[in-house]
Amino acid sequence: SEEVTIGNKYLNISFDSNGFLSSIVANGISSRLRQTFVYYEAALGDNKEFSNRSSGAYIFRPNGTEKFVTESVQLRVVKGNVVQEVHQVFNEWISQVVRVYADENHVEFEWLVGDIPIEDGIGKEVVSRFYTAAQSNGVFYTDSNGREMIKRTRNHRDTWDLHLEEPIAGNYYPVTAKIALEDENLRLAVLTDRAQGGSSLEDGALELMVHRRLLHDDAFGVEEALDERAFGRGLVARGKHYVLFGSKKTSNPTLQARERFLQNQVLLPTWIFLSDTSKFKYEDWQ
């Protein structure tokens, strides 16, 4: 029922009394930073016309219904010298660890989603959504296969007048490494550990799709519903988002430079090998 704060010498993040991430203090400046999980219910159609297709492997097509997964989150807090963590449980099939390592100036979100329930007969597409106070004015940026960032403007295409029949899916873009938004003062960037779909559906907010389970084929060729199972149950997905947030004016090095360095670490991580040393005392091994 109390506010919880974890952090290090670079940043502190706080969770409100309902267990949601609520604010961040970076470079001495306190800002709003909220994160939650939402899911879209999948469209169901007969696939006879283009306008009546089901959401499936090839297309993301929500039926217009957006559902927040919970109003209160259970928390467990772990604090130590190497890392500080908040373990969040959103519901029976969504949980997350939010952590700050002692020498890192980013926040790591390790999400765990699944198996997505389908007893109600509705396919679901789960997203992690971040809210900030940045006045991004409809603009956000996604990477191009890890290379330069491409400017995206909500409900806009550069070369024709756009009227989107599907305002959610029509504003989704591929994210293979990073999605970001900013205004004059603030910048938020989220680095992914795998290719995901992402968007900014309102100013200051970013979202990334982390898992989906669908019950109908979209008639684009695969002829199967995207309903992966293991031993009869839906798959569980676990992954990480690396969040960099701060003031554009006071960050040194710049936030974008820090994002690039972190991207190197995330996408080209060290390789871990393990060996049994039961036969060796430390001195022998040394």
Partner: protein
């Protein structure tokens, strides 16, 4: 060469647009997983040979005895990778009281990495090659991970430490050893009640 070719060929298949986007049929996705797993396992042999050569360059050149004051350096380490670290499970770190962690840095500049390893004990010491203890922390594995279906693991904690000053295109090893403070601690940790899930009829009662 043949081992690397297995991975080259698998990566060639994975260039197909269905493999990249995940729009393949499920049985094809399963086959892709099988191919990649087989290829990575095959290349484990290459990794082991190369790392042992780096560990002991004297032996590599064939004059270890003479150059090393008569100490015969004929050890080879088996370097294993854990494919289940993504669900906080690893057979070596959970079952061994002493193990070595080797980190290879593929970047062309020095780096660092926070290492997280699932373990079954509750207290560990991490030392680097100079005998200096590296600060570490025991962090509980979230219950939502521990309770995952089909994750059969004795690990309820992860030992976390910062591997620092990893040389560019080089490696650094750490020696991790479990601290057993009392007989009770040992018996409690080494014989944890194995979680057998009620909904596991596929594997029979002996599947732990």
């Amino acid at each position: 060469g043949p081992h690397l070719n297995v991975l080259r060929e698998a990566m060639g298949v994975m260039q197909h647009h269905d493999a990249v986007t995940g729009t393949e049929k499920q049985h094809v996705a399963n086959d892709y997983s099988r191919m990649l797993h087989r290829a990575i396992e095959a290349c484990g042999a290459n990794t082991q040979i190369v790392l042992n050569q780096i560990v002991d360059p004297v032996q590599k050149k064939g004059y270890g005895k003479k150059q090393n004051h008569g100490v015969k350096r004929d050890f080879t380490f088996e370097f294993d990778t854990c494919h289940l670290l993504n669900i906080s499970k690893c057979e070596i770190t959970e079952s061994k009281d002493n193990f070595m962690v080797t980190l290879y840095n593929p970047l062309a500049h020095s780096g660092y990495q926070y290492v997280r390893l699932p373990v079954s004990g509750s207290k560990y010491v991490v030392k680097d090659y100079r005998g200096i203890e590296t600060p570490s922390q025991m962090v509980p594995i979230p219950e939502s991970v521990q309770n995952l279906n089909y994750r059969f693991s004795n690990a309820s904690y992860e030992v976390v430490f910062l591997a620092n000053e990893l040389p560019p295109l080089g490696f650094k090893s750490y020696y991790v050893s479990r601290i057993i403070e009392s007989v009770d601690d040992f018996s409690k940790d080494s014989n944890p009640s194995v979680r057998v899930q009620a909904d596991q009829p596929h594997f029979g009662s002996g599947w732990h």
